[in-house]
């Protein structure tokens, strides 16, 4: 036993090279750490009031109830007492463009929307900017992982999962090219533009557009069955994984008729993994979704109902409706102000709890549920033995802005610097004004 502390320690045994500017990635974990006495929200729907969590070599090697197990502090290099604090698996920002957009209004900083209709071969990961000024402000609130996702076109491209503590995108990779993103045609076509929408009309070419997608999938399927040596087609090749089940098809779709068509589409092509993204109407077809093994990345909880007569809290309670129907789902933060707003992902889960989820279901909705949909639940998404040590400690309830205060966070066992340029700027001006 080298160093045992019962009070919170911030930087014990860890050192940061703190540059003015970007936060440097943490040092590789060598020694073992025991997080003791914290209220652990495991992400699995379970919680342990007084927990003992052991991290070693970047992994969680033990998760125990501190009340029912004998804990010998001297077994660990570092012991951090987090009594009265909460510990959570790293929150996951699914369907995110973090690192692909720095400043909304400046086109030069946008890298998520490639030109063209079918771009399955386009890969978000190589554009992912580990040095974004935004990311450090996100992880400050416990969001430690993201699915970096392309947008636009009909097939937008391939997404990858990253963590937020890396020198470059290769370091950041958790899982590469996991999903293909499809924007399903709209049954109702809106006229006007975003600020002054006109009336929607039934789209005349909905059928045409869906047929076009079918054609592309026919081609892709045919290609995937043949050996195409010497005759490689980049687009069709990128689609292969969908048929084998290596990749997940994420379909952006909202209206119930479209959702029904997507379900039929999945069956037609015998696609193994299909996820609905958005799904405003998904609560109306939960039985079909379950039967067909389709998960839902629920649209931004903090959004307005589509119709004046819709329940005013419909977007708030959508997670609860899916949860109760047994449809696998998770939450996301795709909306206006999405990149910088992602730090509010935990509070979106908070709202879902206020509107029906249990607390642990709320935690799961941005941790293990998302990890399952991304296919990374074998290594991430919960505080379980054998998983990566990507987790954090908050002084208070991390899903409530009133109490959220993340004090320690680990990514793969590396303790990360929770500082960011915003808090530095704050301190700079506090000093200027002589405020304490």
């Amino acid at each position: 036993m080298k160093n045992v502390q019962y009070i919170l320690i911030i930087l014990l045994g860890f050192s940061f090279s703190n540059f003015q500017g970007q936060e440097a990635p943490g040092a590789k974990q060598g020694k073992s750490v025991l997080l003791l006495n914290g209220t652990a929200h495991l992400g699995t729907g379970e919680m342990i009031n007084r927990s003992a969590i052991v991290l070693e070599n970047g992994k969680i090697i033990n998760v125990m109830n501190a009340l029912t197990n004998t804990i010998n502090n001297s077994d660990y290099d570092t012991v951090i007492d987090i009594k009265d604090k909460h510990v959570y698996p790293g929150f996951i920002a699914i369907n995110s463009t973090l690192g692909l957009m720095e400043i909304g209004a400046i086109r030069a900083t946008e890298d998520f929307d490639e030109i063209g209709t079918y771009n399955p071969n386009v890969r978000s990961i190589i554009a992912y900017n580990t040095d974004s000024k935004i990311t450090p402000t996100i992880r400050t609130n416990g969001v430690l992982l993201a699915q970096v996702t392309p947008r636009g076109g009909v097939v937008s491209g391939s997404s990858s999962v990253v963590h937020f503590d890396a020198w470059n995108w290769e370091d950041a990779l958790v899982k590469e090219d996991i999903g293909i993103h499809l924007n399903w045609p709209r049954f109702m076509k809106s006229s006007g533009w975003w600020s002054t929408p006109g009336d929607s009309k039934k789209s005349k070419n909905y059928m045409e557009k869906t047929k076009d997608i079918n054609m592309f999938f026919d081609e892709s399927l045919a290609y995937s069955k043949a050996s195409n040596e010497g005759d490689r087609d980049l687009k069709l090749e990128a689609m292969k994984g969908l048929f084998s089940g290596d990749k997940t098809l994420f379909v952006n779709v909202s209206y119930v008729k479209e959702i029904n068509d997507v379900i039929n589409f999945k069956r037609k092509y015998n696609l193994k993994k299909v996820v609905i993204v958005g799904g405003y109407d998904s609560w109306m077809v939960t039985d079909r979704l379950k039967e067909n093994n389709i998960s839902v990345v629920v649209q931004h909880v903090h959004s307005l109902p589509n119709q004046p007569e819709d329940d005013i809290d419909l977007p708030y309670k959508l997670p609860k409706l899916l949860n109760d129907a047994g449809v696998p789902y998770c939450l996301q933060y795709f909306a206006r102000m999405e990149q910088m707003g992602t730090r509010n992902l935990p509070f979106v889960a908070g709202t879902a709890i206020a509107h029906g989820l249990t607390y642990e279901e709320g935690v799961a909705s941005i941790t293990l549920n998302a990890a399952k949909i991304l296919g990374i639940d074998n290594v991430l998404g919960s505080i379980e033995v054998g998983k990566k040590a990507t987790l954090f400690v908050s002084d208070g309830d991390a899903l409530d802005m009133k109490t959220s205060n993340v004090v320690i966070a680990f990514i793969d066992g590396r303790m990360i610097n929770l500082d960011n340029h915003q808090s530095r700027n704050y301190n700079k001006y506090k000093t200027k004004y002589g405020l304490e």
Partner: protein, 1038 residues
């Protein structure tokens, strides 16, 4: 609300009935015959009917109307026994015969100046100089459509622009170009639509309103000024046309009130051309004292068979579908004077059908006739000439088969200025029946059925054929051994066409065509004529009727037919089954407006945000005010609503300093760098569902701000979310005036694409100069006026008053501390700049809104005395917000600056408590400090903290009951109370959700019934819904 003067000098004398000055080709027409219509039911006007009456017409005018009398000599007699005669209808809202306005050429760059050549208004939407008469040309095709629906006269104008010029009142007689014109300038017309003008200003409804008001002032100044002035034909025409009836076209009920307010300000009583939704606010309509011209463009039922698609039809649309046909009835019941128009109907031919629908719904026939004849004639001051069957009036009348307001009756003739126009044949022979048709000695039976006007025939005959068994074998006669013969009834279709008393018949038989032509004799008892056989041979033919058309049977059929297309009537006439009125008329509207009550909230955690702090106690509300804070044992008033709030929290109502909800047609008048003249208060939209949604988030008051598209934007409006009330009732009484300023990327149009690059300013450097220029101009304006005002009364008559300028007056109010500034701002340089401008102009900037770099200049803001209203944690959405920090509010607060947190977003607006709570997380505010960010502090910034923003005895009872600590993400609003009235209650909300579904189902059932009954429908599509943010740009000038 003053009545305008009708023109007392209408030049009827110039209406010659023949063109005396025209050369004559041939001999002179000296036909001075009279026409006598005898034995008719004469509808003299809405009140007087003469049975078996006589009507004489001579040279285009009525010469007699009354009971049977001696016929004039030299007279054509029309025996119209059984028919009805009505005055022809008058439609005051038409563009008949008028050329369309031509649009300026398209250009990618915005057009800031008028492209209209000539000495006209600076703005292309102001065109009172346009006179309909100048381009008026008869249009026989359209005239016929009007005539066929009963109209004899229209008031027609070029329907384009805000001040549209004058209309021409004209008859619709065919080929009577010169005779038709009754009034060269009938009325002056206005609207809130800029029309085809592509000039940038106005780009919003509030801009249209401001432009019209300024035009009034300019016209007055132009007329009165004695100094040398530039020619302005538009202003001259504007003044000159004020003596005419003033007709204002509006798009909805709220705009009736808007137009009326302008009218009140300038002593004009408008006639409102409404949109058909007046019934929804009929008391307010009545209070304008205005007369109305209303359309009968009732919505078609929607396609709602598909339960998914049906969701796109809002309850508001459904209710309007159901209630719109009752609009005329409600106007009548409320004694509002109104005329009816065909305007808005896709097909003029649906006019009578819709008129009858309105009558079925309860509009009296008297009123219907009056609204189509006397009232429009009176509105135009021509009742001496038109609008009733009165001796001396123009002979404009309809002959109908019966009561025109009853289904099935038709218009036979429409006489205009004594000229006959046939609409449907009056004495059509009924050829229906059964005939023995003898063609070339072959007699066959011909059955003619169908309608009287479009009969169709069928020829039946026997055919003798071989009998064939089921197996297909020939059946043989057992006696003869020959094939057994059977008689089969055969029939062929006969094409008949009846033309007066001649008939043509053709049919195909045995592979050849028979074609017959002949005469109809003896009331269709006998037909005869000649025809051609398939072989080309000519033969004689006859048809003798053996049976008359079976009326009874057909009556049943007719009934059945009527029933089928009448299902819509049946459904609608069941007026018991009409849904409730809601306020507003949409989902979550009230059945009746909630009322003020004494409310006792017991055992709550009360966040007073005053010195008392947060207490576990009771709270008494009386007469809309906080009456008592502290334990109350006995309730005095038995009507007190007692709410047990044990475990609940009570906070002051949330006040959103920066909101863009509840605004109609445009949040920005961004078409010019300075638009201080426009006012959000003119365009409050009380039926925005976001009002209700925000109530459910505890918001009780919102400052509705102009957008940030220009350095000096429009004036703001402070409303309380009194859901269900009218625009004026929403506004906070005597709230201090505010105006929106803006700085940075939005005002220099940085993110508006490649073409918005020509308006000054394009840099922050230019922005400063816009302010100096505006303020210095305002100072000079004030000086000019104070010099003038100081003059002695007599002196004043010798010089002219300076021109009044609404824009400058608003800016001057800022300098005189009568109006406060809330300025959209981000980076420190421009914030400092504006404080310098204000310091040197000696006024104080009240609020910097957004103020994301406020933390950098907090000391200077403090010194200047400005407050801040900021986002909790937004940044990175554009370059100028890249240095924003979420600790901003907290730091400003620590510096002693009055700080608020605002939404600028309709969704976030209902979670402002959560946004405030972030102040605890970023920068360590106390909970009370955080809650003040969205309650007391915005009240202070808005200068309403005397009555709002905290829980203090005597303050307005604007409070929220929460399920939990209001700063927690888990807190839900249970009740929102404004002025002691419960405007939101979560239990009522749950109840209403069910009611909304039931009401929808009820109407959906009706719609489907109508559709099955044969009614035309429209597709179920989602209607436009606008959510504004600060930078929302659009051209809403139409």
């Amino acid at each position: 609300m003053k009545n305008y003067l009708f023109l007392s000098f209408i030049f009827f004398s110039i209406i010659g009935f023949s063109q005396e000055d025209f050369p004559i080709n041939g001999v002179r027409d000296k036909n001075h015959n009279s026409h006598a219509f005898i034995n008719a039911t004469l509808h003299i006007d809405a009140d007087a009917v003469i049975n078996d009456g006589y009507l004489f017409v001579k040279e285009g005018r009525i010469t007699y109307v009354g009971p049977k009398t001696k016929l004039p000599k030299s007279c054509v007699v029309h025996d119209v026994n059984g028919k009805h005669i009505y005055p022809s209808f008058i439609d005051l809202y038409s563009s008949y015969g008028i050329e369309k306005a031509e649009a300026s050429p398209r250009n990618d760059y915005p057009q800031y100046n008028s492209l209209k050549k000539g000495a006209y208004s600076w703005n292309q939407a102001i065109k009172p100089e346009v006179n309909g008469i100048d381009t008026f040309k008869d249009n026989e095709k359209l005239a016929k459509e009007y005539r066929n629906n009963g109209f004899g006269t229209v008031l027609s104008h070029q329907q384009d622009g805000i001040a549209r010029g004058t209309s021409v009142l004209a008859n619709l007689a065919s080929n009577s170009q010169h005779e038709n014109i009754i009034l060269e300038k009938g009325a002056a017309h206005y609207s809130f639509k800029k029309g085809v003008s592509r000039q940038a200003y106005p780009s919003s409804l509030m801009g249209c309103i401001a432009l019209l008001k300024q035009t009034f002032l300019d016209a007055e100044w132009y007329q009165n000024t004695l100094e040398e002035k530039q020619k302005n034909l538009s202003l001259e025409a504007f003044t000159a046309t004020q003596t005419l009836p003033q007709i204002f076209e509006v798009r909805n009920k709220y705009s009736v009130l808007r137009a009326d307010k302008i009218g009140d300000a300038f002593n004009v009583q408008y006639i409102f051309k409404g949109s058909g939704d007046e019934y929804q606010m009929v008391a307010d309509m009545k209070a304008t004292n205005g007369k109305f011209i209303v359309p009968l463009n009732f919505p078609k039922p929607y396609d709602v068979e598909d339960p998914y698609d049906a969701r796109h039809v809002s309850l508001e649309e459904m209710k309007h579908w159901e209630l719109a046909p009752s609009n005329p009835k409600f106007l009548e019941q409320n004694q509002i004077v109104f005329a009816l128009t065909t305007d808005g109907l896709k097909k003029k031919s649906s006019f009578l059908m819709n008129l009858r629908k309105a009558v079925k719904m309860g509009l009296s026939k008297k009123q219907a006739l009056k609204s189509l004849t006397q009232i429009p004639a009176e509105m135009m001051g021509v009742y001496k000439e038109l609008g009733s069957l009165t001796i001396g009036k123009q002979a404009n009348f309809l002959i109908t088969s019966g009561d025109i307001f009853e289904k099935g009756e038709s218009i036979h003739q429409n006489w205009i200025r004594g000229k006959k126009h046939e609409v449907s044949a009056m004495d059509l022979v009924d050829i229906r029946g059964v005939y023995n048709l003898n063609v070339n000695q072959n007699i066959r039976t011909l059955v003619v059925s169908g309608s009287k006007a479009k009969p169709s025939g069928k020829l039946t005959y026997d055919m003798i054929t071989d009998s064939i068994s089921a197996k297909g074998d020939l059946v043989l006669d057992s006696l003869t051994g020959k094939p057994y013969k059977v008689i089969r009834k055969k029939s062929v279709k006969v094409v008949t066409s009846l033309n007066d008393h001649t008939i043509a018949i053709s049919y195909q038989l045995n592979g050849g065509v028979y074609r017959l032509s002949g005469n109809v004799n003896f009331d269709s008892g006998v037909w005869d004529g000649r025809g051609q056989m398939p072989n080309g041979e000519w033969i004689e033919w006859t048809a003798i009727r053996s049976e008359r058309h079976k009326k009874k049977k057909n009556l049943d059929k007719a009934l059945e037919f009527a029933k089928s297309i009448d299902k819509e009537f049946q459904a609608i006439t069941d007026s018991v089954n009409l849904g409730k009125f809601n306020y507003p008329m949409m989902a979550y509207g009230w059945d009746s407006l909630p009322t003020q009550k004494s409310i006792l909230i017991k055992n709550a955690t009360v966040w007073t945000l005053e010195e008392q702090g947060t207490l576990e106690t009771d709270l008494l509300i009386r007469e809309g005010k906080i009456a008592h804070i502290g334990k109350i044992a006995d309730i005095v008033d038995v009507n007190t609503l007692v709410i047990d709030a044990k475990g609940k929290h009570v906070s002051p109502g949330i006040i959103d300093e920066h909101s863009h909800i509840a605004i109609e047609r445009g949040v920005n008048e961004g078409s010019s760098a300075v638009t201080a003249e426009v006012r959000i208060g003119d365009v409050v939209k009380p039926n925005d569902i976001n009002i209700y949604r925000q109530l459910s988030g505890g918001v009780t008051a919102s400052q509705l701000l102009h957008g940030s598209a220009n350095p000096i934007g429009g004036q703001a409006a402070l409303i309380k979310l009194r859901w269900g009330n009218s625009p004026e009732q929403m506004k906070v009484e005597n709230a201090p005036g505010f105006i929106k300023f803006a700085l940075g990327e939005n005002v220099k149009q940085s993110n508006w694409g490649s073409y918005n690059t020509i308006r000054f300013p394009q840099t922050r450097m230019g922005v400063e100069q816009v302010f100096y220029d505006a303020f210095i101009n305002a100072q000079e304006y004030e000086k000019k006026w104070s010099v003038y005002n100081a003059l002695a009364k007599k002196k004043k008559q010798e010089v002219s008053a300076p021109r009044r300028d609404l824009q400058t007056e608003a800016i001057l109010e800022i300098l005189n501390a009568q109006r406060f500034v809330t300025c959209h701002s981000y980076v420190q340089s421009e914030i400092n700049m504006l404080m310098h401008v204000a310091d040197s102009m000696k006024f104080r900037l009240n609020t910097f809104t957004h103020i994301l770099e406020g933390y950098k200049v907090a000391d200077k803001m403090k010194a200047h005395g400005a407050g801040g209203s900021t986002f909790s944690d937004w940044w990175a959405y554009k370059f100028e917000v890249n240095d924003a920090i979420p600790h901003n509010a907290s730091l400003l607060n620590q510096m002693g600056i009055v700080t608020a947190i605002n939404s600028d977003d309709a969704e976030m607006g209902r979670r402002l408590n959560q946004e405030a709570a972030k102040g605890i997380k970023y920068g360590g505010m106390t909970e009370e400090e955080a809650l003040k960010m969205v309650t007391l502090n915005p009240a202070i910034l808005l200068h309403v903290d005397e009555r709002m923003g905290s829980i203090k005895i005597g303050k307005d009872a604007d409070i929220v009951i929460w399920s939990d600590n209001p700063l927690s993400v888990y807190a839900k609003v249970e009740q929102t109370i404004i002025d002691g009235i419960v405007y939101y209650d979560w239990k009522r909300d749950l109840k209403m959700r069910k009611e909304i579904q039931q009401e929808r189902l009820r109407i959906i059932t009706k719609m489907i019934e109508e559709k099955n009954g044969g009614a035309e429908t429209q597709k179920a599509v989602k209607k436009k819904s606008t959510v504004h943010v600060c930078g929302t740009l659009s051209d809403d000038g139409n």
